[in-house]
């Protein structure tokens, strides 16, 4: 009896030893948090790229998908719990507060020594710098364009896409008047983020800025531009489908695919979605043009065709178990060749723009003027407030002036003024 017990114990110990030895022989595995795959192409390409990295370095990459707008919150919980991933994709707009909260590793010295920071688009390195320290490496930047169904416009006698926001309003009105069941403008007020960023494009087009350069006060041009942006949406709601207050950006794309909308604002990732969603005939009719500006001087042809830019960065969380292996992966992932081959929208690197995949993207997305979308510790509050005010303005319960003043007051409150 006693002998049998000794044999069993020895056997169990042997198995345990074998397993631990086998684990050590397999090498380091890093956990990489990525948002849920946008499409099969992304899944295939990114997985293959991670495998190529593994073959080159022996460092295994374990991809873990997280819903995109929950990554930052889940990261916060994981770092506090002491179980963060090794590498994480984070939204550009969340990088500031994650870094300020001490949830990201300081990459300053490594980035300066081992990455060509001059190869990154203007403003992108500033985006990932907090109090003079670099906390992430920029991955992609997104922009917007104006999508125009030229077939619908031609039916009402309009041959060219609009150049100004006033022309957008006039064209939309003409479509609604002449074509029953077709709408001049697509609006997605049913989704907070989508509504906010599209409002921001119009706000920028009217020459607005959020803050002064030092980031301490609300910009002097804020009230006027914000009022005009709210007024624009109030007017465009008349030419939008009755579902504007419930529609998401995906709904607008589907309405456009069904030929129900003449014009709408579209994000670059929406352009990619449209390639799969629209029929070839519809794709042939849709033009993607520079977002129209509110100010235009015909004598000097000076315009401000700004849209807001969002995007993603790649970072190493604080307390990542395999920091060195994670850094090797970050360098690989943000290399020009890999960025050009894998990025879904616009690469953060200038040299990656040469990649043949990027050539297919319409000019309006690639070369439209980009202003950074609002970031900072209070971006969530402002985003929610702008969304609420947008809905109120469209419903007619507040005036555009009052809506702008409400946002202005909140900004001042959050800045401690």
């Amino acid at each position: 009896m006693k002998t049998r017990k000794v044999y069993w114990l020895s056997f169990l110990m042997g198995v345990l030893l074998l397993l631990s030895g086998a684990r050590q022989a397999a090498g380091v595995t890093i956990r990489w948090w990525v948002w849920m795959w946008d499409n099969p192409w992304q899944q295939e390409t990114w997985t293959a790229s991670a495998q190529a990295f593994e073959q080159r370095t022996g460092i295994k990459v374990q991809i873990e998908n997280v819903v995109w707008d929950q990554i930052s919150d889940k990261l916060r919980a994981a770092v506090i719990a002491g179980n963060p991933p090794d590498v994480v994709m984070i939204l550009r707009s969340d990088t500031y507060w994650l870094a300020e909260a001490g949830l990201l590793s300081d990459l300053t010295e490594l980035a300066k020594a081992e990455i060509d920071l001059a190869d990154f688009r203007p403003g992108t390195i500033e985006d990932v710098t907090v109090n003079g320290r670099i906390y992430a490496i920029p991955w992609r930047r997104d922009g917007y364009a104006l999508a125009v169904n030229t077939e619908i416009l031609q039916k009402v006698g309009i041959l060219y896409p609009p150049n100004t926001l006033d022309e957008v309003k006039a064209y939309a009105a003409r479509v609604v008047e002449a074509l029953p069941g077709v709408y001049g403008w697509g609006m997605c007020l049913g989704k907070k983020h989508a509504a906010f960023y599209r409002w921001e494009n119009v706000f920028y087009s009217y020459g607005g800025d959020w803050l002064t350069p030092d980031g301490k006060s609300v910009a002097p041009n804020f009230l006027e531009a914000a009022t005009k942006a709210f007024a624009f949406h109030a007017e465009m709601a008349k030419y939008a489908p009755p579902s504007a207050l419930q529609d998401t950006d995906d709904d607008v794309l589907r309405l456009a695919a069904a030929g129900k909308i003449a014009m709408w604002q579209e994000h670059l990732s929406g352009w990619r979605q449209a390639q799969g969603l629209f029929t070839p005939e519809m794709l042939a009719h849709v033009q993607w043009v520079y977002f129209p500006e509110g100010k235009f001087d015909p004598a000097t042809r000076t315009s401000y065709r700004y849209t807001g830019t969002g995007g993603w960065n790649i970072a190493i969380p604080k307390g990542a178990p395999n920091f060195q292996a994670a850094w090797e992966f970050v360098k690989y992932w943000t290399s020009p060749e890999n960025m050009g081959a894998c990025v879904l929208t616009l690469p953060a690197r200038i040299s990656a723009m040469e990649h043949p995949r990027i050539a297919a993207i319409p000019e309006a997305f690639k070369f439209g003027a980009l202003k950074p979308t609002l970031t900072g510790p209070f971006v969530q509050d402002i985003r929610t407030l702008v969304w609420e005010q947008l809905q109120a303005v469209v419903l007619g319960t507040v005036t555009p002036q009052k809506a702008a003043e409400t946002v202005y007051a909140k900004l001042n409150e959050l800045l401690g003024k």
Partner: protein, 289 residues
């Protein structure tokens, strides 16, 4: 000596078998609950216990009219779902109960489909069916029900009713099978018609189960989130923002302390309803014996 130790230990065997499961359940529930309770007394933008502020979060919550509006909407949504599901479940159960066709069980299975569908799929399908431009129902009625603050809450409640009818249907149907037939025979002998039999025999016998089912549905809807998040995100203009959506918005704005406080208040409200439900069930069981 060994035998007397075993005499003491053996009766405890049963507890030893359930101990791991109990520890796991209590541990996985109690730790987050206690942490959330603690968090409600702190001011934090990260979710750690940074700055103790006592009852400030609760004071801010109770003086916040959006919070109380969300509570009222929660009550309307919960009771609306429960009443609608119970009434329609009862009607369907009665129809099937009196149906004398083969395939009755299959029909019950088909009617059970909304219950087994996930909330995300249900919400997405409902949004599309009700879409005024591309949805079949939306085009028929020619109204953007989810875009109008006056109709949005009633619309999501109606979708919630549709989702929960099967639960009420199955519960009531099972109760109908257990009804005493002799009372109906006696009523027929006394000359009672179908309506009188339904009103004076069926309803009184079903009343306890109808009430219990309704109360259970109310308790569940207090914690409902997914359907509204998918369909409206709490809009338009907070028209469908119930307490769970309100709490989610606070988490999104990283007001973790206030969100924790709102969760505690929601928990207390749900507890009150749960105690009422348990008392009712206990009374029903005692009466049945």
């Amino acid at each position: 000596m060994e035998r007397s130790v075993w005499t003491v230990v053996r009766p405890l065997n049963k507890y030893a078998f359930i101990l791991p499961a109990v520890l796991l359940t209590v541990g996985s529930i109690s730790y987050p609950f206690i942490y959330n309770l603690l968090l409600s007394f702190y001011d934090t933008k990260v979710g750690t216990l940074d700055r103790f502020i006592g009852f400030s979060n609760y004071r801010a919550l109770f003086s916040s009219s959006p919070f109380w509006e969300a509570v009222l909407r929660t009550i309307a949504f919960s009771f609306g779902t429960a009443i609608g599901a119970v009434i329609l479940g009862l009607v369907l159960a009665l129809c099937i109960h009196h149906l004398d066709l083969p395939g009755k069980t299959f029909l019950l299975g088909v009617l059970f489909v909304p219950w087994v569908m996930g909330f995300v799929e249900s919400g997405i399908i409902a949004r599309w069916v009700l879409h005024p431009v591309l949805g079949t129902v939306g085009q028929l009625i020619n109204k953007a029900l989810l875009s109008d603050p006056r109709t949005a809450l009633a619309t999501v409640t109606a979708v919630s009713v549709w989702k929960h009818i099967p639960f009420a249907l199955v519960t009531v149907y099972a109760a109908l099978q257990a009804l005493r037939r002799d009372m109906y025979e006696a009523a027929m002998v006394d000359g009672a018609n179908a309506w009188q039999a339904f009103r004076n025999i069926t309803i009184p016998q079903l009343r306890p189960i109808l009430f219990a089912t309704g109360l259970l549905l109310v308790i569940w809807q207090f914690g409902a989130f997914t359907l509204i998040a998918v369909m409206t995100e709490g809009g338009p203009l907070h028209a469908t923002e119930i307490v769970t959506v309100y709490i989610y918005d606070l988490f999104e704005a990283r007001s973790f302390g206030k969100a924790a406080a709102a969760s505690v208040v929601l928990f207390v409200l749900a507890c009150i309803l749960t105690v009422a439900y348990l008392k009712l069930e206990f009374k029903r069981l005692v009466e049945a014996e």
